[in-house]
Symmetry: C2
Subunit: 410 residues, 2 copies
């Protein structure tokens, strides 16, 4: 709440809402720059490449803030590669992950000279070999290891457990590295793990690094030299208080890798760079009571921000009302299902219809997961620069945008 | 499965997949026409208006099949009104529902001469009065009653329980009807209930009708004449076997209302008209094993079809492979989260990489809930007409479509 109050000036927010309408995403450049800085400071003594996980928020203007600061990109689709290049990320700082890359995507990545392709199955290695051979292009690759570590997060965002779809076992990875030796277009340079999202402890990272260090030692004995250790992302964000200092993470990691030379660390922050930087401004439409429950109906909905419905995520709600009278209510949207809520059972100053509410910590996995469900128009995005400057960085959709890919039959 | 095999000819599906690529939604016009027919036959003796719930699937070409057959529309947003009018639904067959209609949307609906606006709170009635008075336009309206009936479905799609955001109590409705008498631009003509989705029993409908009949009798004694009884939608679909005969529903309802005259019944089928008509064709990219679990990685994902992740919905998977060898596996997509699955623990003929799989019963709440998450391009849609004719009714998105609303900062 305090973070919202501090970084998003109430009168400026009202001005933006009245000029561009609501719902609308508003991001603070200052918060993004601060987050970059705290990562850089924390890891100042580490040979490191930060690869921003574009899936968190791939808006061109936000991505280019990161690219200009020398950050790289963690991408998971051809669309994200397209966006990363448009935003100015250097190809040699782009890592391509994901369990289901197509031939076309692998080809696009090779042609774009990305740093490495993070292979997640033997089948994929075969296809990578095929594509690389066809285009006579050396494919630098890493392998994503499934370390079988449980980071104790939501089951949907746990990604490093056996029995999940991500990565391969260490044994399988060794088979793949060995196999790749036979083909001149396959060049193994990295090893990756990704444990999940919203991780609040350094312990799983330390365990994963121990596992990787032991593995690359063995690989080096077999003539395979791993130059990149990629420990993925997943460093959690405190949705109420904002970014959690990466210094804690850095300290734990550095103690493990400081003695290594010729090895570069890659980490892939997404949420931790972007979540706290964004708020979703919505307008109160109606208030009503059903049974014992109060509802505040706002014009933002699950199509704009699906995390509460999909993951049961709890995000702070900041009211711009100064009413001393309080109300305990659910904040719900106009979409026709009970799953359409933005917050449940929260207490806030009783708003008037027309008042603004801000949902906090939506800079990551907000707009990037939005849809047109219920034929709602996807919300625009604004970037705050400095104290009073703001820029429209994504326009609101129009009715026309709902149907512009449709073909009307005669 | 049999329904997929019967209505979607394997060689035609392969042809479409190779011509337009995958993932791709394919709909059968025949199934839609059959569904319309079974509703019409079941209710042939009832004075009834069918209002198709556009939120299920609002593609222009699919909607116009329904509009041409005299079906009306149940809409929940300005965007849906725009789409309904484009598809040719008669305004006097359009009902506008939803808890969060804006002034602009109410104004648009009045100007479009929709049949009625289904009001869901006292606050909304006030705004409707304001808009109607301002434009000197009579607002025909119904009130959505919350009957406090539990239809025993998923908590997100239960919509007629007290403590939920939908509708108002009967007591509140009476207050609203009475209140409206004072204003010449407010004209009460209907009463609505909507119980939820995926309802498998007629009992909640019968209970709701009893409640409405008692209420409109009382209202008539107070000089308020209700002409439309709207019992909403929610008639469940068997995802494996397809549409459940509406005759069962019709029989139960008719026994209650056959003696009434001057009253028109409205029902709002969405899923039951459209779900079984659609399949999602995906291509097998890779197979892998993690722990004891097999994964088939396909190129369709949760951004294309979110029901398994969001509601835990179980949809049938049909394999076009004829392999005698079977595999028990999860069908997962390329999106980077564990929640990205299309089916879990299903047994199917072991597919080769490159083979096609069809996810069944995706005609409703499939494309309409899709997003560009992970910068994936939203899938195209194809309509099958007759045995071998097919039409592209929505084009696949391009990379350009990911960013065309974005504004690049200098």
């Amino acid at each position: 709440m305090d973070a919202i109050k501090k970084h998003f000036n109430a009168s400026l927010i009202k001005k933006i809402a009245s000029k561009f309408g609501t719902p609308i995403f508003v991001y603070s450049e200052k918060i993004i720059l601060d987050s970059i800085k705290s990562y850089k400071t924390a890891f100042s003594k580490t040979d490191i490449l930060f690869c921003y996980a574009l899936k968190a928020n791939s808006n061109n203007s936000l991505c280019s803030i990161l690219a200009k600061k020398g950050i790289g990109a963690d991408i998971v689709s051809g669309g994200e590669l397209f966006r990363a290049l448009k935003a100015g990320f250097e190809p040699q700082k782009i890592v391509f992950s994901g369990v289901g890359k197509t031939e076309e995507e692998l080809n696009y990545a090779l042609k774009s000279n990305v740093l490495m392709i993070n292979v997640e199955s033997f089948d994929e290695l075969e296809i990578l070999k095929k594509v690389a051979s066809k285009f006579k292009k050396i494919a630098n690759f890493s392998i994503r290891i499934n370390p079988d570590i449980d980071p104790h997060t939501h089951k949907f965002i746990t990604t490093g457990k056996l029995g999940g779809k991500f990565g391969v076992s260490l044994k399988e990875a060794f088979r793949m590295y060995e196999y790749s030796k036979k083909f001149k277009f396959l060049n193994p340079i990295g090893m990756q793990v990704h444990l999940g999202s919203q991780i609040y402890s350094v312990k799983p990272y330390v365990m994963a690094i121990d596992l990787i260090l032991a593995a690359i030692k063995k690989l080096s004995e077999r003539g395979i030299n791993i130059k990149y250790i990629d420990i993925g992302g997943g460093w959690g964000v405190d949705e109420i208080r904002g970014m959690r200092p990466p210094a804690i993470l850095a300290k734990a990691i550095n103690s493990k890798i400081k003695h290594l030379s010729g090895i570069k660390l890659i980490i892939e922050p997404g949420r931790s760079l972007m979540a706290s930087a964004g708020i979703l401004i919505t307008k109160v439409l109606y208030k009503k009571k059903s049974g014992d429950k109060n509802f505040i109906i706002v014009n933002g909905a699950m199509n704009d921000f699906i995390r509460p419905a999909l993951y049961g995520a709890k995000h702070p709600v900041y009211s711009f009302s100064r009413n001393k009278k309080k109300l305990k209510a659910d904040i719900v949207g106009p979409v026709c299902e009970s799953g359409d809520f933005l917050a449940k059972d929260i207490e806030l100053p009783l708003p008037e219809n027309g008042d603004l509410l801000a949902i906090g910590s939506v800079g990551a996995y907000g707009q990037s997961m939005s849809s047109q469900y219920n034929s709602r128009l996807r919300a625009p995005e604004i970037l705050l620069k400095g104290k009073s400057e703001y820029k429209l960085i994504r326009k609101r959709e129009s009715f026309r945008d709902l149907i512009y890919k449709e073909v009307r039959l005669p």
